[in-house]
């Protein structure tokens, strides 16, 4: 298993090119988050994605699912053939995460669903006395959706200390800069006001991510605001929101792969 961010980005690029997929920028902003979680943080059984002894990773921001598929390929839950046939007729993988896909805990893409489900899982684990943890990745744009805030209030009220919310705060959403569309800042203050332990750090600095995830106050539900760059890793994609929608041609693919060599 190799969760090297450059390798994961190459998987994403090949998938996106093969499938003619959009949402490359959405996947690239959370590559380091995914990489760290699967490489160091999450307990999972490569032989059994549904193992009762697993930590749950709920990708609520389904638009970044290619980053997760790339990790699944490294774990062995998906094959190169799955990635080659991405989005083709009759293929397994959809362009947004689906709970039928091995390793995906929820169906997302319709936003504001994953966090309430993650909270339900965290509650269920606590009620069972199960020590496993729940990590839920949401987008900063996704936080526009009201049910997230219902779920955060609930998580705080019930002290779901086994819950980590990670915001992939890439500062963009579908139609523009988040601060221009609907400003959710200051996010850390909002989470703290809701009763969560919250910090922010770079979402591309593995050391900072590791430290923040492991050092947040243990007794509370936790929210990490990971400051990320949409399209991170490819110079011409970074902070250019057209990579929410644009597809790769062969020349662009080659240029990208060269940059990631």
């Amino acid at each position: 298993m190799n969760f090297d961010p450059k390798l994961l980005r190459r998987h994403v690029l090949n998938m996106a090119y093969n499938g003619g997929s959009v949402h490359i920028g959405c996947a690239f902003s959370l590559i380091e988050i995914m990489s760290l979680l699967y490489a160091e943080i999450l307990t999972f059984d490569p032989q059994n994605p549904k193992s009762e002894n697993r930590d749950y990773l709920v990708l609520s921001k389904g638009h970044g699912v290619m980053a997760q598929y790339a990790c699944f390929r490294e774990i062995g839950w998906l094959t190169d053939e799955h990635l080659r046939s991405y989005l083709s007729d009759g293929s397994l993988l959809h362009g947004l995460s689906e709970s039928h896909t091995v390793g995906c805990e929820v169906s997302s893409g319709s936003l504001g669903h994953g966090l309430p489900i993650a909270v339900g899982i965290a509650l269920g684990l606590k009620m069972r006395g199960n020590q496993k943890r729940v990590f839920c990745i949401v987008g900063d744009g996704e936080l526009n959706e009201g049910p997230n805030w219902e779920a955060l209030a609930f998580a705080s009220h019930h002290q779901l200390s086994n819950l980590w919310v990670i915001v992939d705060a890439n500062a963009f959403q579908a139609m523009g800069r988040s601060q221009d569309v609907l400003n959710m800042e200051p996010m850390v203050d909002k989470f703290r006001a809701f009763g969560l332990a919250s910090e922010e750090c770079s979402g591309h600095d593995m050391g900072a991510l590791r430290k923040t995830i492991t050092h947040l106050e243990q007794e509370k539900p936790k929210a990490l605001v990971a400051r990320t760059v949409k399209g991170k890793g490819i110079t011409f994609m970074e902070n250019d929101n057209q990579w929410h929608y644009t597809r790769l041609d062969k020349n662009l693919l080659d240029a990208c792969l060269k940059e990631l060599a």
């Binding site: 489900i117 339900g120 899982i121 009620m127």
Partner: protein, 304 residues
């Protein structure tokens, strides 16, 4: 009906520690016994129905058997997408209980009235829909839902109508509430108006039926009704997407030389106009007990 519901919920909680009830700050008295006897299996999540369905999905994923309680105007209507994506798509065994369906909350106005809950759920895969008419039907529907591997919706309408049955029916299949040798006209109903239909059936000697389970729709019902010339479908629900639609859709696909003609006595496609009692609100839709008798007699005279 509500007493039985409370008893069933408590019994389910006692017999199965995985059974948990979630409420969006509704149903206070209904859950008194549960809260007293199994406080850890009752969760008032606050006034937050959308997230509540997500919690139920998460609990089901960790092996619990959640029952999500709400007023039908909110569960399922407000949370339809959560039911579709969070529960039906992964085929999780969550029971939804929609209380106060139809015009029960007549004095509270259109926000609390609900004549479209069955219609909005029927196209969803992996969810059964029940509309029991009395405590006995409710018991049978509840037990079936409890043993289902996928989701269920139980519609609770006006709950203090007289009981139709003397004991729980053995299945949720349709059955005659009044039998008659007449093959001219049959009244088919579900939920709150079954008892009204039954009384009129006895008074006018016309056959009447109850349909406790709307989805999956009992296919044999349509076949068995071909012998009638006229069918009156009576429901405290919109004609769009409810019992009338279910039957008409099923019958339209059947090979039959002569199909019965349908009459729908249902909620009109309109919101409440003025405030009033339950019977007053029904009368705005020409569905008060008196209206139903009058309209049924008019139909009978028109086809005589």
């Amino acid at each position: 009906m509500r007493t039985l519901l409370s008893e069933r919920i408590v019994a389910s909680a006692i017999s199965n520690p995985q059974f948990v009830v979630l409420s969006g700050d509704h149903g206070y008295a209904l859950f008194d016994a549960l809260r007293a006897q199994r406080p850890n299996q009752f969760l008032n999540v606050g006034i937050a129905e959308q997230a509540m369905v997500g919690y139920a999905a998460g609990l089901a994923k960790t092996g619990f058997r959640p029952l999500v309680y709400g007023l039908s105007a909110f569960v399922p209507l407000r949370v339809l997408e959560q039911i579709k994506l969070d529960v039906c798509y992964p085929a999780l065994p969550v029971i939804f209980l929609g209380d106060g369906a139809g015009l029960v909350y007549s004095t509270l106005g259109s926000s609390h009235q609900c004549g479209e809950d069955i219609a909005c759920l029927r196209p969803l895969p992996n969810i059964a829909i029940y509309s029991p008419c009395d405590a006995y039907e409710l018991a049978t529907c509840f037990d079936e839902a409890l043993h289902s591997k996928t989701a269920s919706y139980i519609r609770i309408g006006k709950s203090d109508r007289p009981a139709v049955n003397l004991m729980p029916p053995s299945t949720t299949e349709p059955y005659f509430t009044h039998e008659s040798s007449s093959t001219k006209l049959c009244v088919i109903s579900s939920g709150s108006l079954v008892s009204v239909a039954k009384d009129l059936g006895e008074k006018l000697d016309i056959p009447t039926m109850s349909v406790p389970r709307i989805q999956p729709f009992p296919q044999q019902l349509a076949k068995s009704l071909l012998r009638f010339q006229f069918l009156v479908i009576l429901e405290e629900h919109s004609r769009f997407g409810g019992l009338f639609s279910s039957l008409a859709e099923t019958m339209s696909e059947m090979e039959a030389k002569d199909r019965p003609r349908f009459f729908s006595l249902s909620l009109k496609n309109q919101f409440a106009e003025k405030c009033g009692s339950y019977q007053y609100a029904l009368a705005e839709h020409a569905l008060s007990d008196r209206d139903i008798e009058r309209r049924l007699l008019e139909i009978i005279h028109s086809i005589a």
